[in-house]
């Protein structure tokens, strides 16, 4: 009986529909359809220039899209102003280059958002910040400035800064690729821990160990398109498309 062309599709926490994005003549996001469920961890991989960063940045509208729709919790992204700022507060973002506020101490980096966006008092914000710094293991550095910390420590602070906003979803754009090898693990450990506490995460990374340990799904992008999606185990052992096979053979032989 039931004509199952139901309009009440269970949309994810983050849902992208027919998203298109150009930089001039360059078509960087082509027909992107992607739905990310609550608590899901999605790893995005793909060759350089395939549009992974742009995809990430589109989700909190650091990069506006040409057409299509992106919704967070069922709400379309507002286009500008106060409402857009509020949306961004709900989407945590961790950058490849950390981007900690260079003129502020570690503690101030983590308290700024809660105080100026969420309206927490200084005492409340600091209490929360110290708890988060403890969680990512940089309590001892609270009064230092970003330049005094190692890359791994800075990235963990950046994660704490994003978490301080109580985001609904966390975006990571190659969070470990600017780090020395010995620091990668300390950052990935924090992320795995986050995933295990059912944070919704979109992670652009080539760390297959992380994908295997923490991801529910791997999304493979090439030339602005999503070419393949699968569970990590399946994707890494049995990729279906030629593009993915080529890509994996390249990064695996390294």
């Amino acid at each position: 009986m039931s004509d199952s062309v139901d309009t009440v599709t269970t949309t994810g926490l983050v849902a992208l529909q027919d998203v298109q994005k150009h930089f001039g003549d360059l078509h960087v996001l082509k027909d992107i359809n992607l739905s990310i469920g609550r608590g899901e961890v999605v790893v995005v991989i793909g060759p350089s220039g395939s549009g992974k960063s742009t995809l990430c940045r589109a989700i909190n509208r650091l990069e506006p899209i040409d057409s299509g729709s992106i919704t967070l919790d069922g709400q379309p992204l507002p286009s500008e102003g106060k409402r857009l700022a509020n949306l961004r507060a709900d989407v945590g973002m961790v950058f490849q280059s950390f981007n900690l506020f260079a003129h502020k101490t570690i503690l101030q980096n983590v308290t700024l958002g809660p105080m100026k966006v969420r309206g927490l008092s200084k005492a409340e914000a600091e209490k929360k910040a110290r708890a988060l710094l403890e969680r990512v293991g940089v309590t001892a550095q609270a009064e230092k400035y970003p330049a005094q910390l190692s890359g791994g420590q800075q990235q963990r602070v950046a994660i704490a800064r994003a978490l301080a906003m109580d985001p609904k979803v966390m975006l990571f754009d190659e969070p470990t690729s600017a780090l020395d090898p010995e620091m990668i693990k300390e950052v990935l450990d924090v992320m795995v821990d986050l995933a295990s506490q059912s944070m919704t995460m979109v992670v652009v990374t080539h760390e297959m160990g992380f994908a295997r340990r923490a991801a529910n799904r791997v999304v493979f992008m090439a030339d602005g398109q999503i070419v393949e999606e699968a569970e990590p185990q399946k994707f890494f052992t049995d990729p279906q498309t030629k593009r993915a096979q080529d890509f994996l053979s390249k990064i695996l032989t390294h």
Partner: protein, 229 residues
């Protein structure tokens, strides 16, 4: 050297330099205020504001200061009747001229302040503003808490240069009757043409005493307060 004691006793040279300092400090504060607003307009995402900011800087920077100051007096006050002091006061003329000079000096130097701050903004990596936006700070808060504090620290040296220029340029106020240092120098030179080089020397040294420490202070501050990245 009686001319030196005359500088202090008969001509109130110190008072004249006090006026110079006062003129400079007050104008500097207004210039900083206006210049910051203009710089913010230039980096804002709103096209109209950008255009207004750019026009301001380009028009003002390319107008001779003397013109600006004379316009404040002849144009604003004498033609349009804009006065900046209490008309019934005994010191109306002095006050009004002084304030018109402050207006002209502020408006003029604001253009240079704006450029200095914009060069400071350019020292702040794009990622700083992106990170601020990513935690949900709206445009003005991003500027206020993240970009401008770093921009000012990156702009200390050029701002120092603007302040030094402003100190010297304040002498133009004499053309609309403000008795700052150069106005007094002119009077002294007219009265004592026999020692004209001494008079000149006294005032030149006076200006060096004012500007040299400013240069040293701003250079050391710009090093001390530089944002470590």
């Amino acid at each position: 050297m009686d001319v030196i004691s005359e500088f202090f006793s008969e001509y109130d040279g110190l008072g004249a330099f006090k006026t110079t300092i006062y003129l400079t400090v007050v104008s500097a504060l207004f210039a900083l205020l206006i210049g910051t607003v203009v710089a913010v307009m230039r980096v804002s995402p709103i096209r109209v504001l950008q255009v207004i900011g750019t026009l301001y800087v380009n028009i003002v920077r390319n107008t001779p200061l003397t013109l600006v100051i004379v316009f404040c007096n002849l144009g604003l006050f004498l033609q349009l009747g804009v006065s900046l002091a209490n008309k019934d006061s005994n010191t109306f003329i002095t006050d009004n001229n002084f304030r018109l000079a402050v207006l002209g000096l502020s408006v003029y130097h604001a253009a240079f302040v704006a450029e200095a701050i914009r060069s400071g903004v350019n020292t702040v990596p794009l990622g700083q503003a992106e990170a601020a936006r990513a935690i949900g700070l709206p445009f003005l808060k991003t500027l206020r808490y993240v970009v401008l504090p770093q921009a000012f620290r990156g702009a200390i040296a050029p701002l120092g240069n603007v302040l030094i220029a402003l100190t010297k340029n304040s002498t133009v106020a004499s053309v609309i009757g403000v008795t700052e240092a150069s106005a007094v120098m002119k009077v002294m030179m007219e009265n004592r043409p026999d020692v004209i080089f001494v008079v000149f020397g006294i005032f030149a040294i006076g200006f060096v005493i004012l500007t040299l420490p400013v240069g040293i202070l701003f250079t050391s501050m710009s090093k001390r307060l530089a944002v470590k990245r």
